[in-house]
Every structure is written in C-alpha cells, then in structure tokens.
C-alpha cells in the first residue's frame, strides 16, 4: 500500500524469532515461514495508514493493533459446543487458535473434499493470492502471525449438495486464517460464521482468501455476530477465474468496532461477482465496511447491493470501490448502498468510488442515507401495528429485497439473525 505515514504507534514485539518459533511449533513448512517473514518485514517499522486516506478516515487504525505479542498466544483448549442443526457437507470449527472440529458427510468424503489444518497443509503458494503481503497493515499482521487456520479444497467438477459451514470463535486475541480453493467447475455454498467474545473484551484480525477456478460457482457467506466486547477487522477476498461465478453474502451484526474489507478480483474473461450484504447496528456500534470489485479481464460483470439499518447511536461508513482495468472492456458493474436510520442519533455515510480506465463499460452506482419514513410508520400504525412492530416491518422490508438475493441456506441463516436482532431492539 502506497504512501504510509508514521504515527509513532508500535507493534508489541512480533520479533523474527517469535514468528519462526510459532511456525516451527505449528509444524509449518519453510515456504509458509517465508511468507510470514515477508509480511513481518512490511510491518517493520510499523507505519499506520494516514488517516486522511479514505479507507481509514472513519476508523482509527490503532484500534486494531494487538495489545500483546500475537505470537505469544498458545492455543487454548476450547470445549467445542456446536450443535449442527442442518445437513452440511463439511463443518469446521476454529477456536482457541486451532482447528478443533472437522465433520464431513459421505458425499463430500467420497468426492475428495479436503479440510485441513492450514498450518501443515503445505498451501503457502496459494496463500496471498487474493490478499498478498502489503494489502494492509491489519492483513500483514495476520499473515505474519496468524494461528488457527483452515484450508478447504473442493476438487474440480464437484457439486456439493449441502453447504460447508466454518465457525470462528473469538478469544482475547484471535488471528484466524481461512483459505478456500474451489476446483474448476466445482459448485458449493460455504458460510463462515464469526461468533463469541463471551461478553468479554477481545480483538479479531481475520483474513480469508477464496480462489475460484474456471467455471466454478461459489456462494460464500461471511456472517459476523460477535458479542459486544469485540473489536474486529475481517478481510475476505476472492480471485475469480474465467467463466466462474462468485456470490458473496455479507451480514454484520456484532462487535463494538467492526471494519470489513471484502471483495473480489474478476481475473478471467466472463467472471461474474455478486455481493449482497446487510448490516444492523445499535447502541454505540461502529461499522466500517469497504467493498472492492476489481475487474481485470474482459466481459466481466459485478453487482453489489448493501443495506445498513441503524438504531440508537450506531455509526456506519461504507466505501465501495469499483475498479475497471484498461484491458477489461465490455464489462459491467453496478453498486447500490442504502442506509436506514431508525433513531435521531444514528449516523451513516456512503462513499461510492469508481476507477474506470476504459470507455467500453456499463457502470452505475447509487447511495442513500435516510431516516425511517414517518408516512410509512403512520400507515402501518393506522392498521393496528404498534410503533415498534411497524418499525420492524419497515426494516424487514428494507432488508428483505437484499436478503432475497442470497443463496438458500445463507439466506435462512441470516434471516433468522435479522429477526432475532429486530426482536431485541
């Protein structure tokens, strides 16, 4: 990342030998250690992004600095309490800095789906393809010091009947790493759920990379419902090859400060990306979502629909980048972000960003920030719905059009969380 400015902040230790020790204790190969060291080098000295730079204008980067040396953490035993209620192809649990549970159904097993501990999956050459070292200081901290990771690999041509579920449990300091590799022509739904915090304070710096090979169809959901004490930053990036489809569902509910960086590189001709997201904030929650759809190849198309509903004194910022490279002619990109404010104290900002280097494109964007419509409220109330119920109906309707775009299982999951959230307000 260009033009960094020193802020005088220091990152506790993260010494070379600590990184080496972490890597060796975890049984990693040299290639993975080399990648960690490359990221660590970029953090020395630690230069935080200039607050004038748009991506960090709204959220103080120092909030995401670990309070302790991340390599000091040793995996802790966490009793896996996870009731699987629906049929799944794969269930994986990352907790206490380790991959705890892997369950797989017969179809996935037979098809050769692999779910491995990322520390010894010998996957270094695939790591960093969607979130390379230098992507940002938070991602670099993760790349240098992540602990507890999972590789999910679905072989070419495999279409999974049931979704894959990954659950990541937040501890005092959590640096999870997820790598999803979708083989050529494969098709599946995968949901990464972030939970926990146990009402205590914690930090999460997570990075997920999804490599979508030719003609594959991946529906990925990132669902964040931390307890209120968590400060977290999640990055999820996909690299989408020619003819492949990538659907990204984003749902943000929890944490006190949450910054997300999600998006996709449309790297091959004809790649398609659709992002549909909802965020619901209350109390003093601070959300900062950034999306990027980066068109690198011809005839690629992307669409984004992101909705935010805020109560109390919640804050939300959304920056949405569409970048279309010179060689990506014949592409189209659409982006829409709507924000609904349910209280006088809630605030939202929406900043679309376009970098379009070719004329041969179709591109549009729209953004709104508006309070709840008093005429809608009056109408619903005149039909017997009490104020709170009327608000819920309006919020649900507001979000429903976006939820309708989600793949089945992800949609059911997120709808249940939306309903639960609405009924606790």
């Amino acid at each position: 990342m260009a033009s960094r400015a020193a802020t005088g902040a220091t990152l506790p230790m993260l010494a070379l030998e600590h990184v080496a020790e972490l890597s060796s204790v975890a049984g990693e190969d040299r290639a993975l250690l080399a990648l960690r060291n490359q990221a660590r080098e970029l953090l020395t000295p630690l230069l935080l992004p200039d607050r004038a730079r748009h991506l960090w204008r709204y959220t103080d980067p120092t909030r995401f600095l670990p309070d302790t040396d991340p390599t000091d953490l040793t995996p802790t035993d966490v009793g896996p309490t996870w009731r699987l209620e629906e049929p799944l192809s794969v269930a994986g649990l990352l907790a206490g800095g380790a991959l705890r549970v892997v369950e797989m159904d017969a179809q996935a097993r037979k098809a050769g789906v692999a779910v491995e501990d990322l520390h010894h999956a010998k996957a270094a050459e695939m790591l960093g393809q969607a979130v390379p070292p230098g992507h940002g200081f938070v991602e670099d901290i993760n790349t240098a010091a992540w602990r507890g990771g999972v590789l999910v690999r679905v072989p070419a041509g495999v279409a999974l009947e049931h979704p894959i579920r990954l659950r990541v449990v937040a501890g005092p300091l959590t640096l999870p790493r997820v790598l999803v590799v979708a083989g050529e022509g494969s098709s599946f739904e995968i949901i990464e759920g972030h939970v926990g915090g146990d009402r205590s304070v914690g930090k999460v710096l997570g990075v997920t990379e999804i490599l979508v090979a030719r003609d594959a169809n991946v529906r990925y959901g990132l669902v964040q419902r931390w307890d209120p004490g968590i400060v977290g930053h999640l990055t999820a990036r996909a690299r989408v090859a020619a003819g492949a489809r990538f659907h990204l569902s984003l749902a943000s509910f929890g944490g006190s400060t949450f910054k997300a960086d999600v998006g996709a590189y449309l790297a091959g001709e004809g790649a398609e990306v659709e992002t549909a997201g909802v965020a619901m904030g209350g109390d003093q929650q601070h959300f900062d979502h950034h999306t990027e759809h980066i068109h690198e190849a011809r005839k690629t198309s992307s669409n984004l629909d992101f909705k935010v509903a805020l109560t109390h004194a919640a804050r939300s910022t959304y920056t949405g980048m569409i970048r279309i490279a010179r060689q990506a002619g014949g592409s189209e990109a659409y982006q829409e972000n709507r924000n609904l404010l349910l209280s006088h104290d809630a605030r939202a900002e929406s900043i679309p960003e376009l970098e379009i280097l070719t004329d041969d494109v179709r591109c549009s964007h729209g953004a709104t920030v508006a309070p709840i419509d008093p005429e809608q409220l009056f109408y619903l109330q005149s039909r017997g719905l009490a104020n709170l119920q009327a608000m819920r109906v309006i919020v649900y309707g507001f979000l429903d059009q976006t939820l309708a775009r989600l793949p089945q299982t992800t949609r059911e999951r997120i709808e249940a969380l939306v309903a639960a959230r609405l009924h606790t307000e």
């Binding site: 009056f378 109330q381 005149s382 039909r383 104020n387 309707g397 507001f398 979000l399 429903d400 059009q401």
Partner: protein, 255 residues
Amino acid sequence: MSHSAKPVFSCTDVHVWIAEKEVVKGVDLAVSAGEIHAIMGPNGSGKSTLANALMGHPAYTLEGTVELSGEDVTSLSPDEKARRGMFLAFQYPVAVPGVTVASFLRAAVAAVRGTEVPVREFRKELLARMEDLEMDPAFAGRYLNDGFSGGEKKRLEILQLLMLKPRFALLDETDSGLDIDALKVVAEGINAAASQDVGMVLVTHYQRLLNYVRPHVVHVFMDGRIVRTGGPELALELEERGYDWLETPATAGGA
C-alpha cells in the same frame, strides 16, 4: 343523539393545526353504525387534514374530543385507535417495499383482532375478499403499494377495510384516480362494509362515487368547517351549482 343509540364515532369541536396554521376550525360529527356520511368540499378546504388528524397523524395537532362507541380516544396512538375499530383509507397510500400484501395484512389482522389467524384460514379469507374486489391473486405476493397503479392502491385500501372489519371507517378520496369499473368495484366494497354495520365517512371532492354509494348524510366542508348538512340531495345540488353559492360560511344546518 340519545344515549340509547350511541354513535360508533363522534367528534366534538375538533380543531387541527399544521405547525402554527389552523386548518380545521371546529368540527362536530356523529356517525351511527351502518350509517354513511359524505364530507364534500373543494380542494384545500382541509377535509383530508381532518381525516388524517382524526386517525392521529403525527404531523398534526388536534384539539377537541374524538370518541369511538362512547370511549374517548382523542389521545390514543393510531395503532390503538385501529385496535379499537377505527380505519382510515388513505388518499395516497404509501409504498412499503419488501413487505408483501399478504404478510402485511396478516400482521394487521392479527393486531386488530388481537389474535393470530391460522395461515390457511387467513389465506382463504384473503383470496375470497380479493375475488370480491376483482383482484388477481398474484397481488397478495406483491410489495405493499410498490409500483401499484392509482386504481390498484384504492382497491387495496378497500381490501384492508374488508379484512380488518372496523366499526368506523374514514375513506379519504377513495374515488379519486379510479376508472368507472374500478369505481363500481370499490363502491360495492363500501356498500358491503356498510351493510355489516360499519359506520363510514366518505371524504370526497366529487359526487361521482355517490352515484354508487348512497350516503345518509351529506356535509359540505369549506375553509375548515362544516358549513351545511343535509340529505343525499345536497350532493346533487353541489354537483349542479358548485361550491360558490356557499362561499359565505353559514351556520351548519342541523339536519
């Protein structure tokens, strides 16, 4: 009005302000069960404001007394009034995208009746009422008033009237924006409701609707007041002579 025939709706000395401006300047009304009143008046006379303020629109300040079957509901919220059997058909029904007609009506019916209606039973009732109003069943799955034509919106208001079964209904310009076929269907719905003892006030600019719905009482509303009250023949007189001859506010003729 004697105590034995208590009106389902009455209001006494109602004044309505929008910000600092007094728009309704002292209105008395009493409507009995099954009775249809028409309030007719020129544009800008304040009749829509009166209807919305009676229902409890938050932008208006109302003074005076509003009663439903003898209970003072003046200070109640719109939803509390609705649950006590009051209904307003809107002149401009607002769109609520993302909320289907069926899911909204189910919630409204549950709120007003105070009990959840089983899905199948509700569906059956909804489809029957939609058929009465010559509405395509696919309508139930559309988003509330979202992209509806003027006529579709008005039919939906009458559908709600029939589903919610209020004791008293205010219909604000329900006839405007309707072609003649739609007007007939809407009028049938209004007559059906009246035959089930709903007391009604039709607020209208034209006498057109009154060709199909016969009001018991007609009030002429000008400059925030009822200036004349009479029988159905008063509507015809207005149609012929316009409102100009009533320009000087007369004392409301106690019919």
